[in-house]
């Protein structure tokens, strides 16, 4: 088989091995990626840009280093990125018109770390504008289709990241997860997606809008790949003071003897709602039963405040976003609309009115409302209080469970253009995932089978903050049991 045909299913681990053994060079690997994008991305639409020239130059440099005897873990391996990471000298659009013309003057910490590990940041992936959405339909630039079924959405907001990996257009990618934006698209596209604990991965240089919940994480084909990539990007960063000074364990080594024996799995009853798709319930229940058969202790638990999670999330996230996005005003960078002689206010108004999409504006307006004097106590403050209750729910659950398992989403991937105007429905879709972000714990989604229509179903695994080892081990053991 040629490298080009192998590329679509190749894992990070396999690429690393192939490079190490000299089966192929980094230049060949990048060419194969470029060929796959050329061949398939006109349908999928995962990439906003792929700088083949830059990636090939980096690949050549990597091959030279390898010849000189250097072997950093990810040397010469292209990693595709959701388009919200600053990469020095490259655009960074967040799929928004307002960042038109912006060229990043610095590297995000995760980019610095990928480069230090030898990886090549290659390709900027589509997303919902400023990571606001669950379908990637809120991109200002293009539609991304689910590679499994191109009539359906890939999920969001890291839809491009999941579609590129699932469609064989990338070995692995990075996304960001504020309320499920890694796990939900991973679930929709049949990938592995990990949201690390809050404070595990630096947010410096990531154009997020919800500082208290955003986390960067990998979207990959296997749990092992996710462990490899997380290993490379995790850890304390002086530039992000919300990162935590906790050692980064060897996630890859931890997978080797992953086992379900004696693993205490909690199954939150609130995550099996009436609205949950029966096929999703069946597949997830089957996966949990398989874990039990392999020696796990499964028990039903309760997260009593789950019902409030979506509403709490909407208020907290919108409040923070309304401030975080204020910097996009056309004064220092990006796209400016309006002439100086019309005055500063006119410049702001036109720049922002024309630069932001509808969903972003909706959240800015909502966020401004919940923070305004007179409303703060009624909305923002109460949401923060409820957030504490949600965090306590998890603390109580993890007192006697190692991990929790549930569906990642209540339904499989839905049809394109079916959710655009229904913000409330979109919120309901987040219900199972947002609680993890509100609580700061870690979670992931792995494929656990397909529906009759052949759509992937995702199993969500949650673990306590900084419990990534338990999280990845449980997911890996479960995957082996399911044979996926």
């Amino acid at each position: 088989m040629s490298l080009n045909s192998e590329f679509s299913t190749m894992t990070l681990a396999q690429a690393s091995e192939g490079l190490r053994n000299g089966t192929f060079s980094s230049v060949e690997l990048v060419r194969a990626m470029h060929a796959a994008i050329d061949e398939k991305d006109s349908v999928i639409g995962a990439y906003l840009a792929f700088d083949a020239e830059g990636a090939l130059a980096a690949a050549e440099a990597a091959d030279t280093r390898r010849a000189a005897g250097e072997y950093p873990l990810l040397l010469g391996i292209p990693i595709a990125l959701k388009d919200m990471f600053n990469i020095k000298g490259q655009p960074c659009t967040c799929a928004s018109k307002i960042l038109e013309g912006y060229i990043a003057p610095y590297d995000a910490t995760v980019i610095t770390r990928l480069k230090a590990a030898g990886a090549i940041p290659a390709g900027r992936l589509n997303m919902d504008e400023f990571a606001m959405g669950t379908t990637t339909e809120h991109s200002a630039f293009q539609v991304t289709r689910n590679p499994v079924d191109p009539t359906r959405v890939p999920g969001g907001s890291s839809g491009g990241s999941a579609a590129a990996v699932a469609g064989g257009l990338a070995l692995a990618s990075l996304g960001t997860d504020t309320g499920g934006s890694i796990r939900q698209p991973a679930s929709f596209c049949g990938c592995v997606g990990v949201k690390p604990s809050y404070g595990r991965v630096s947010r410096f240089g990531v154009v997020g809008s919800v500082s208290s919940m955003d986390q960067v994480g990998p979207i990959t084909k296997t749990v092992e790949d996710a462990a490899i990539l997380l290993q490379a990007i995790a850890g304390l960063d002086a530039y992000d003071q919300t990162t935590v000074n906790q050692p980064v364990p060897d996630y890859v080594a931890a997978l080797r003897d992953a086992s379900l024996k004696g693993l205490r799995i909690g199954v939150p009853k609130e995550c099996f709602l009436d609205q949950t798709d029966p096929e999703v319930v069946t597949k997830v229940r089957a996966a949990i039963d398989a874990c039990a058969d392999a020696g796990a202790e499964v028990r039903e638990i309760s997260l009593p405040h789950t019902a409030y999670a979506s509403a709490v999330y909407s208020v907290c996230a919108a409040g923070e976003a309304s401030a975080s996005l204020a910097r996009f005003d056309g004064v220092r960078y990006g796209r400016r609309r309006g002439a100086a002689e019309d005055g500063l206010q006119a410049l702001y108004n036109r720049t922002r009115a024309e630069g932001f999409g509808a969903e972003v504006k909706r959240r800015i307006i909502l966020g401004t409302f919940v923070l305004s004097s007179g409303n703060y106590d009624r909305y923002y403050h109460r949401a923060q209080q409820a957030r504490t209750l949600i965090r306590r729910d998890f603390e109580a659950a993890f007192a006697h469970c190692d991990v929790l398992m549930s569906p990642t989403t209540p339904t499989p991937a839905y049809l394109l253009n079916s959710k655009n105007d229904d913000a409330l429905q979109a919120s309901f879709d987040d219900a199972f995932t947002v609680a993890a972000n509100l609580a700061g714990i870690c979670g992931l989604s792995i494929p656990c089978g397909r529906t009759k229509a052949h759509l992937p179903v995702g199993l969500q695994v949650l673990a306590p903050a900084f419990g990534e080892v338990a999280l990845l081990r449980a997911a890996e053991a479960c995957r082996r049991e399911l044979g996926v």
């Binding site: 919200m84 960074c92 992000d240 003071q241 923070e320 910097r327 004064v331 500063l344 702001y348």
Partner: protein, 475 residues
């Protein structure tokens, strides 16, 4: 009707940190516009603030010096408003849980001191600087995100004079503590003045008017006087005051309305999610407490006791910490205390004033100064030579003892040599000698001056005077 005045001050002080509050950029004031900037202080996409621990330390030191209650737990908030020199369109500040609560500053009043209570001190970042031109505006972000400490007084001052006394005392303490240069011209210390008046005999404070952002004490004084008079005029004419923010126009010497309460902004404060709360362990605060300098007032009392100086001397020396330090250093190196004090108060401060420099910036060291005073004390050199050497040390620095040897400046106290000079002078100026004999005392000064001239300044003038008198009497 008589009115009572109530004044409260909000004073912004730029802290003397090497780098900015939330990034590593330098805080140099004079740099070319937009050269001390980075993605963080320019509010670039994805950039995050990183707290400057030094700024927290300096704020805590200020709080300790001012007798504040240092908070073990405080936090930062976002203050949201759109303006072109606010890089993120929000300012990181401390809205409701500041680093320091309470405290106060003592100001001199007739017959004692009056304590002006402080409400709180919080830490925040500064914004950039806008300049407006006919066809465009410029923004310099060098100042963006530099560390500002805001000291908010209680509304307890009752006159413009008290407000200025408070600011002077506050400034002296902050400079003493080494937390800020408080250079007014560079805008290191800027105040918002809140003023209200109420009829004598009433308790409820009147409508508050805020005058924004003044750095000169004389402007603050003039603005407060103007505003008090304006408010009295309005009330006396039967008008009502509106709660508003006004601006002092130093050219027109009047305040003008900027905005009223109705168009007050809703800043939508909320906790800054990019920063963790500031948690200070008691051990940390205690460790910082050890770094506190002596208060100016305590130092003054100690100078009087330890160095047997008059009150006046101690007050002058302690007005500026570097000068007080210079004095103590020189005394430690052997300079007689009273002589050192005299020389500093007259000559050194005069030279500093003429050159508009601070003592730490000039070549004159305490070591050289002490050496010079010892030469004077042991009569190794005479006063005119010493004064000349001081001027030179001030300009270039150096070792006065070595100069005296090299240049042969040692005072001539040799009777024979002085006698010879005196004889020559008496012979050369018979008319002056006659004048002196006739009772004209200044004539003697002239003759001594001539001896000094002949000795090229080195003769002991006292000996010369006595010698001349003796020789004239003997004739």
């Amino acid at each position: 009707m008589k009115y009572l005045v109530t004044i409260g001050l909000e004073t912004h002080v730029q802290l003397s940190t090497k780098s900015k509050m939330f990034c590593g950029c330098a805080t140099s004031f004079a740099a070319e516009p937009n050269t001390n900037v980075c993605p963080i202080c320019l509010g670039y996409p994805g950039a995050l603030p990183a707290m400057n621990r030094e700024a927290i330390k300096l704020t805590v030191l200020s709080g300790l010096m001012l007798g504040c209650d240092i908070q073990a737990w405080s936090k930062f908030d976002r203050k949201n408003y759109f303006y072109a020199d606010a890089a993120k369109n929000y300012q990181i500040t401390q809205a409701d849980q500041p680093l320091c609560l309470g405290g106060g500053v003592d100001i001199p009043v007739p017959g004692g001191t009056n304590r002006i209570r402080i409400h709180h001190i919080h830490l925040e970042e500064d914004v950039g600087k806008s300049t407006h031109h006919p066809r465009c505006s410029g923004i310099d972000f060098n100042r963006s995100s530099t560390a500002l400490m805001e000291i908010v007084s209680e509304p307890v001052m009752s006159s413009a004079d008290e407000a200025i006394a408070y600011l002077r005392a506050l400034r002296q303490i902050l400079v003493y503590t080494g937390v800020s240069n408080c250079n007014l011209e560079e805008g290191n210390m800027r105040s918002d003045v809140n003023i209200s008046i109420r009829p004598e005999g009433t308790e409820t404070l009147g409508t508050k008017v805020e005058i924004k952002n003044m750095n000169s004490f004389s402007h603050i004084h003039a603005a407060a006087l103007y505003e008090i008079a304006r408010q009295e005029r309005v009330l006396k004419q039967g008008g009502t005051l509106v709660q508003e923010t006004r601006r002092w126009d130093p050219d027109l010497c009047e305040t003008a309305s900027m905005r009223t309460k109705e168009d007050a902004q809703d800043y939508r404060y909320f906790p800054e999610p990019d920063l963790l709360p500031i948690v200070l362990a008691p051990e940390q605060i205690d460790a910082w407490r050890l770094l506190l300098p002596e208060l100016p007032e305590d130092k003054r009392v100690r100078f009087v006791g330890q160095y047997a100086l008059p009150e006046y001397d101690a007050k002058v020396l302690c007005a500026q910490l570097p000068v007080a330090n210079f004095f103590e250093e020189a005394v430690k190196l052997g300079a007689p205390a009273k002589a050192a004090s005299n020389w500093i108060m007259t000559d050194v401060l005069r030279l500093l004033g003429q050159s508009e420099q601070d003592i730490i910036d000039v070549p004159l060291t305490a070591e050289a100064f002490a050496s010079l005073l010892k030469l004077v004390e042991t009569k190794a050199i005479n006063m005119p030579v010493a004064k000349g050497l001081l001027d030179e040390l001030f300009e270039t620095g150096g070792d006065p003892a070595a100069w005296v040897k090299e240049r042969g400046l040692a005072q001539v106290s040799d009777t024979g040599a002085i006698e010879q000079f005196a004889r020559e002078v008496i012979a050369a100026h018979p008319k002056v000698v006659e004048d002196f004999k006739g009772g004209k005392q200044p004539a003697l000064q002239f003759l001594v001056g001539q001896v000094m001239k002949l000795s090229r300044g080195k003769a002991n003038p006292q000996m010369a005077g006595e010698m001349i008198k003796q020789m004239i009497d003997d004739r």
